[in-house]
């Protein structure tokens, strides 16, 4: 769990089964474990109305365990980018009452939530559970480029190369934390880079 922070920083919970007939799960890597643990407490037939979309981590784990839940639909995606067209269509065509469950890395939860928000789903209605890496998606406030999987503080912008302070200030619309030049006032000050978002 992330440490206590400012109000714009997302807070994640624990997945719990919601009333309804249609359930969409989007998870990556260790996010699968959140679904598997929730599955111990679901009513009979719950997964008969569920779709699970899963992006495995580099270790390829949890695929079999998710399939064993026997969801109505199961889809393995190679990356979030490759999943995006399918996810957009699913959410666009979804009926009122679809329940959304997002679990895994912050980057996955944030990006899936971003697509769901664009489809008109209120963020407070989504179930989220953070599992695995604390790596952050970061928007450089200067060049607007997004750097994925930021693990250090400060971090170098992958686009413009400025050394950025990774703030806790978070935008759901951008699905990103804000990065602001850490040595703007005196570029000769180079603070040490520590790996803190693991």
């Amino acid at each position: 769990m992330a440490a206590k922070s400012i109000i714009s920083r997302p807070v994640y919970g624990t997945l719990s089964p919601q009333p309804g007939k249609h359930h969409l799960f989007v998870a990556d890597a260790e996010g699968a474990v959140a679904i598997i643990e929730m599955a111990k407490n679901v009513p009979a037939g719950f997964f008969g109305g569920a779709e699970i979309v899963f992006i495995p981590g580099p270790d390829g784990k949890h695929v079999g365990a998710l399939e064993a839940l026997k969801p109505a639909q199961f889809h393995l995606a190679a990356s979030f980018a490759s999943l995006l067209p399918r996810l957009k269509q699913t959410l666009t065509n979804a009926h009122m009452g679809l329940r959304l469950y997002l679990s895994g890395t912050e980057g996955l939860i944030g990006q899936a939530m971003q697509v769901a928000l664009e489809a008109g789903i209120d963020h407070t209605s989504m179930q989220t559970e953070h599992r695995g890496s604390l790596a952050r998606r970061m928007q450089c406030v200067h060049c607007k480029g997004i750097t994925e999987n930021v693990t250090t503080q400060p971090a170098t912008c992958a686009h413009c190369g400025l050394l950025l302070l990774v703030r806790d200030h978070y935008s759901r619309r951008l699905a990103a934390f804000q990065g602001v030049c850490i040595n703007a006032e005196d570029r000769s000050e180079i603070p040490p880079m520590e790996e803190i978002f693991r």
Binding site: I6, I7, S8, R9, Q139, V141, H142, K144, L162, R167, D168, H169, S171, R172, R173, L174, Q178, V180, C181, A184, E185, D186, R187
Partner: protein, 346 residues
């Protein structure tokens, strides 16, 4: 007699100055010799003649130069002006408000004539004479919010009210004190204020939101906020922080009076009639120390405020690097005698 608009710049050679009359009307934000956050909101009613409150939307000698600076910012970075799709109606509300107020306060400079939905807007200082159909975006060269805020001093945030909260869903933000509309657009009241230190714990934002969501049409409210800026730079955006940040290292005992500026925001809050949104103009006033200390009361008081400011606030306002130099310089103008109550100069 109309306003004489100054030719001046807010970048590069920084020729911005206040005339003696504008120094005396500066909205000095400290009513006592110390400062802490408070919900300092009051009704936005017309104030004394010759003050910045003489009209509810103030136009001053910097108008033309500020509009030129805004055009430069937008040419570099169009993301400073954004409006989410559901905010167009609120943009028309804002256009009406600003045209009415500017024409009311400054008839020699602005004229609005209406024939049903057919409106004619004359802006003499900027050489604009446009006829358009109110409500029809295709009859204007920009969306309604962008059109009118390219002709109005100050930043503008339009807040949508829903779920008991206010959402930053549109804005024109080119003269901001270090916050990013592009990042904060779509956030609610608590989220976009999240980085502000101390105030959340004091319950400031909960009370402020309660007040703002109850604002009624025709009864605007206002508050002052302040920070400091090195050089009279309007565009102190986070986007360009790596460009203006080095200015903070350039303050010396010799140049304090010319370089260090008090930056005051007159924030007002208006209910919009059609959209039920709230518009939040953030009008920025700059004054350099040399100009400010021509009023001895302000010099004494500012010395005490800056000297005693809590460290978190000094850090948040970005004063850390030059505060000792500034306090030392101001201390020479503070003989320790008492200051009179209230904001105004003696």
């Amino acid at each position: 007699m109309g306003i004489t608009f100054r030719k001046e710049t807010f970048r590069d050679d920084f020729t911005f100055r206040n005339s003696p009359e504008h120094i005396r009307r500066f909205p000095f934000p400290f009513h006592e010799d110390s400062y802490m956050y408070a919900v300092n909101i009051e009704p936005h009613v017309v104030g004394p003649k010759g003050s910045v409150l003489e009209n509810l939307i103030d136009v001053d000698e910097h108008y033309v130069a500020e509009m030129q600076d805004r055009a430069l910012v937008l040419a570099e970075d169009p993301l400073r002006c954004q409006s989410l799709p559901h905010m167009t109606l609120a943009g028309w509300d804002l256009l009406e408000l600003l045209m009415e107020q500017q024409a009311l306060g400054y008839p020699e400079h602005f004229t609005l004539t209406r024939d049903g939905d057919r409106w004619r807007w004359i802006n003499r200082p900027l050489g604009i004479d446009d006829t358009f159909t109110f409500g029809d975006t295709s009859t204007l060269p920009y969306g309604p919010m962008e059109y009118i805020t390219r002709q109005s001093q100050g930043d503008f945030c339009i807040l949508d009210q829903r779920d008991g909260n206010l959402w930053m869903d549109a804005g024109m933000v080119t003269t901001q004190a270090d916050w990013s509309l592009d990042f904060d657009i779509g956030m609610n009241f608590f989220e976009w204020h999240a980085p502000v230190p101390l105030a959340h714990e004091k319950g400031i934002f909960i009370r402020a939101l309660k007040f703002l969501t109850n604002i009624q049409q025709g009864k605007p409210a206002r508050r002052l906020n302040w920070t400091m800026t090195i050089n009279p730079r309007l565009d102190t955006s986070p986007e360009n922080y790596h460009k203006w940040g080095p200015d903070r290292s350039t303050v010396t005992p010799e140049n304090v009076g010319d370089k260090v500026h008090l930056r005051v925001e007159l924030q007002s809050f208006w209910r919009l009639p059609r959209s039920n949104g709230i518009v939040f103009p953030i009008r920025c006033y700059l004054i350099k120390m040399d100009e400010l200390v021509t009023q001895p009361k302000w010099a004494r008081r500012l010395h005490r405020v800056i000297r005693d400011l809590p460290e978190e606030l000094a850090t948040y306002k970005g004063l850390t690097r030059y505060r000792p130099t500034l306090v030392e310089w101001l201390s020479k103008l503070d003989d320790g005698s008492p200051t009179s109550p209230g904001f105004g100069p003696d």
